[in-house]
């Protein structure tokens, strides 16, 4: 009989626990979502209604607005974060003197790790009024004929506020990935470009083309972070069902919907199940986005190292 290695005896249970936890999560979300999925079918994800009622037969739920809000705010966030993090990476790797470079990297790490609730309180008490008075009001006053700016910014809690706050939160995260990739560009490439007499600007343009896959995967992973963010978003988005592209309109995201409604969901027959269905879609989006982003990044890193 072959002797079982004691190393495996020690480590296998831990590995199995982690896998079981993850599978268990998927299972719990799926089974708890089933009653709502049975009852409302795909309309649950495609319709925008939220009618809670004591009488179960009158309950109707459709979380399209929340799904839209999650995607919309995350897109706003990465549209802002992408140019910022690319500029940061180039500046830190190519231009900044060593000391400044370290300072920037440390600051960026602090920003990435800062408790999200601190972004939340700052967002609710400073960012929202600031954006309302300095960005939304002027745009609404002068350009409200454009559909994007057509919603009157009353409270300031809106898709835009959430998107901007998310951008601030995910920029350091995307920056770290892109900076690392930009740093990994083989030195000979730089030498070759400069030897052709290129300026730094021209060299950067070429090198950014070289790390394009890493930039894309960094953006995808940042999108994944933004989709999953909960408390900071729920404090600035206004928590209203609103299926619109108007930037200044209050909205909902899937995670803020869960955070807001779960507390009293038990009173209603189908609300808990609906929220589990919302969690399930968040689960699927989060998993898909991260798998794609991580795979792309890994493939690129392997190609560079060859």
């Amino acid at each position: 009989m072959r002797k079982v290695e004691s190393f495996k005896v020690a480590t296998y249970p831990a590995v199995i626990i982690v896998f079981l936890l993850f599978a268990g999560m998927l299972f719990v979300y799926f089974t708890n979502a089933l009653p709502a999925l049975h009852r409302y079918g795909l309309d649950l994800y495609l319709e925008n209604v939220w009618r809670a009622a004591e009488e179960p037969s009158e309950e109707v739920y459709g979380i399209a607005a929340a799904i839209w809000g999650s995607i919309y705010t995350s897109i706003i966030a990465i549209l802002i974060a992408l140019p910022l993090s690319v500029a940061y990476s180039v500046f830190v790797v190519d231009y900044a003197p060593k000391r400044l470079k370290n300072a920037f990297i440390i600051l960026s790490d602090i920003m990435a790790g800062l408790p999200t609730i601190i972004y939340g309180i700052w967002g609710a008490f400073f960012l929202v009024p600031f954006l309302r008075d300095w960005i939304m009001k002027p745009l609404y006053d002068h350009l409200s004929f454009i559909p994007l700016f057509s919603y009157p910014p009353v409270g300031g809690y809106s898709y835009l506020s959430a998107g901007v706050l998310l951008a601030i939160m995910v920029t350091p995260f995307a920056s770290a990935i892109i900076r690392e990739a930009y740093n990994m560009v083989p030195f000979t490439y730089r030498e070759a470009i400069y030897s052709l007499g290129a300026t730094r600007y021209e060299a950067t343009k070429i090198l950014l083309g070289y790390i394009k896959p890493a930039i894309i995967s960094g953006t995808i992973l940042a999108f994944g972070r933004a989709v999953g963010e909960t408390v900071a978003v729920s404090l600035v988005i206004g928590n209203t069902f609103n299926l619109t592209t108007a930037l200044f309109a209050p909205g909902y995201t899937v995670s803020s919907l869960i955070a807001n409604q779960f507390g009293n969901a038990f009173i209603y027959e189908y609300m808990t199940s609906t929220l589990f269905a919302a969690g399930l879609i968040l689960f699927v989006i989060g998993l898909a986005v991260n798998v794609v982003g991580l795979k792309m990044l890994k493939r690129w890193e392997r190609d560079v190292n060859i």
Binding site: A14, F104, D109, P115, Y119, P172, L235, G279
Partner: protein, 276 residues
């Protein structure tokens, strides 16, 4: 003519990316300044009562106690598993299970934390019939585990493979080589991972929403009873219409910021690279 055009472009480019880089950090400084300006007077005015008193006395003592309990309890629950998983991923980097494990850990780091909270609520808090410190700590442990595992894995990988070979050539078993020789050598890296994971979970809010419950009028007495936490308290106070609650929230934010920076900066300064 052409050259000067290229040089102008170069200058504009430099100024552009410099300005954007600085723009990234303006919010950070503004946040820290705001938390200090709004939080400090609150703490100064209420004195030590703010740090030890209950919420109706104007303090956040129970929440601070809750945060420490939750953080240490989650470390206690998560560390053994995280360490062993990290070791496994290091020992079998080429095997299918090993690669899956690594991918899973990375996915778990990126995973929406609210989902972990709701999951633990359903499997722990609902059967127990009450929110509890245990449920909160379990949710945090699930979030802490991948951080510690990834750091353990990285720390082990930095050890030159000659030590491994030397260990095996002496006829030691795999377990002896890994746990007796390599793990002690990677001690520092592993410890860093533990501290970073703890700094991370100490600031988490979403996983606690439906697990910890909240307890702000008395100190926690049992792990099977509800417990408060500083981030959770801030979240609830921000949503209150009462300005006094807002003041307390700012004071609590300053405390939370101090806890986070207190753990994070010393580690970060003694280290080349951090992944969050």
């Amino acid at each position: 003519m052409l050259t000067s055009n290229r040089k102008t472009k170069e200058k504009v480019f430099f100024i552009g990316i410099g300005a954007l880089t600085i723009l990234i950090f303006i919010p950070l400084f503004h946040i820290i300044a705001t938390v200090l300006i709004k939080g400090f007077p609150v703490i100064a005015e209420r004195g030590t009562k703010f740090l030890t008193g209950t919420l109706s006395e104007g303090g956040i003592g129970p929440a601070i106690a809750g945060t420490f309990i939750l953080t240490f309890l989650s470390a206690l629950l998560g560390l053994p598993v995280a360490f062993l998983v990290g070791v496994y991923a290091y020992e079998y980097p080429k095997s299918t299970l090993g690669q899956w494990t690594k991918t899973l850990l990375q996915i778990m780091i990126e995973f929406p934390t609210i989902l972990v909270g709701v999951f633990v609520m359903q499997v722990v808090a609902v059967p127990m019939g009450t929110y509890s410190a245990l449920a909160g700590a379990l949710a945090l442990a699930i979030i802490l585990t991948p951080y510690v595992a990834v750091y353990t894995h990285e720390a082990l990988r930095e050890i030159p493979s000659t030590y491994r070979e030397a260990g095996f050539s002496l006829g030691l078993t795999r377990a002896k080589v890994v746990f007796r020789i390599l793990a002690p050598m990677a001690k520092r890296g592993i410890l860093t991972g533990i501290l970073i994971g703890m700094a991370k979970v100490a600031g988490e809010t979403a996983p606690l929403l439906f697990t910890a419950g909240g307890l702000y009028e008395s100190y926690p007495s049992s792990v099977t009873k509800p417990v408060g936490a500083v981030p959770l308290l801030i979240y609830q106070l921000v949503q209150s219409p009462n300005p006094v609650d807002h003041a307390t929230a700012w004071g609590a934010s300053l405390v939370l910021l101090a806890i986070f920076l207190g753990i994070f900066i010393p580690i970060r300064l003694s280290l080349k690279e951090v992944r969050l």
